[in-house]
Symmetry: C2
Subunit: 247 residues, 2 copies
């Protein structure tokens, strides 16, 4: 059963994509759409909220909502596994474990994974491919309590996140990502097929379960050109003028 507000959001999304409401134009008012869809204003606002968080529409008090874009910004605001993300873009994800070893957590790792110092962790080096081409090298550290499930996965596992859910009921739910750029090291260069010292996009991330328990922390390095991260955002309620008198 799909929720009513989701249906309405999808209808509006399509109408925007089809050009019924071109970029820059105003949408019908809340009360108008609530009437035509036979739904209360609250439900309609919920649908609008979804579209707003996708960056499709913008709003200001007193004025009608405005179309900002025709396609939802994907990728980031919604956490996606590499495999899901690849398939959403119509590309075939692949992967291969290069090495896997148990060891002790460093102090920093223990802190990030909320473990006691010297707790056991599992280090995995994994290359990920898109349509057969290597695009991403992952250095992942799994918390010890998740290590068994990870080790049982096949080396060429296509979707780690999906498999961990199916095999161990592990749901990776929240994530924190830090992005910067680094020069490719020897291993990076060899596995990704680039020159040593060439630029890579680095994403350091920590993933947690629904109740906030960290499962893994990872250093992911992307070959440029193959992958671009996109974020769409807005000044939410407060226009610039309100943020501070002099800032």
């Amino acid at each position: 059963m799909t929720r009513r507000h989701q249906q309405i959001a999808e209808e509006l999304r399509q109408a925007i994509a089809e050009g019924t409401y071109p970029v820059g134009s105003a949408l019908p008012s809340e009360s108008e759409l609530a009437l035509t869809h036979g739904v209360s204003r609250g439900t309609l606002r919920q649908a609008f909220g979804t579209l707003q968080s996708e960056g499709l529409i913008g709003s200001r008090q007193g004025a009608r909502r405005v179309v900002l874009a025709t396609t939802p910004s994907q990728s980031f605001t919604e956490l996606r596994s590499f495999a899901q993300w690849a398939r959403a873009g119509g590309r075939a994800p692949g992967g291969l474990v290069l090495s896997s070893a148990r060891g002790k957590a460093t102090e920093a790792q223990a802190a990030q994974l909320q473990l006691a110092p010297d707790d056991e962790v599992l280090h995995v080096l994994r290359v990920r491919t898109l349509d057969g081409e290597p695009v991403l090298l992952e250095r992942t550290v799994y918390a010890g309590w998740a290590a068994d499930a990870v080790e049982r996965l096949p080396d060429d596992c296509e979707s780690v996140t999906q498999s961990l859910y199916e095999a161990a009921g592990l749901v990776m739910c929240h994530g924190e990502h830090h992005l910067d750029a680094v020069a490719a090291g020897t291993t990076d260069a060899r596995e990704l097929g680039v020159r040593r010292g060439s630029p890579l996009l680095r994403v350091r991330r920590t993933t947690t379960t629904a109740d906030g328990r960290p499962v893994e922390t990872s250093d992911d390095r992307y070959k440029p050109g193959s992958v671009v991260f996109t974020v769409r955002n807005s000044v939410q309620a407060n226009p610039l003028v309100r943020t501070s008198p002099t800032a």
Copy 2:
């Protein structure tokens, strides 16, 4: 006048920061907090929604909300100008225009700025500093209709976004950002004080007004080490299992 739901969100934010609700613990239920704050459940949910979008708490139907982090994720989900962002981190922003010239828009630029081909645009090359150290080189293209206001700004303008608002009423409201990594070119190397070919984080962005009209499109290159972008996100309503039967 601050809204009730904002006050409650702020109270909860502080309680979380102070450790009243440690990471991983469950928060009181909606109805409970609604009672103690003397407010309806809807208002309380609005406050919770804010905290959720800041990545502080997570929720699943049927279970109590859970604390995921103690500090709100800044920077990205909320659009911020360089100057605002710098001040929020307690650092002093600076800037200097290196060159500024009018010209015709390329086809790609015209499309991105929603201009007619051959419309006039303003190219600005600007270096940005943090505590005096250059960290960012901006190559910005402004739509012709905004060019006059931009040219009237002082060369060492500290906050372009703020000044454009004050001088011309221009409010940059929405933005789309594409992130990848590139090697530093000759100009990048000279202005940022790095070696040619060393890795830079590139952010290509387009900024628009409240009604979706593009003001500028820019190629920004960040010196690594000085700046890290952070994104915190969640699988929203649908847990992994729901996304697709086989994906």
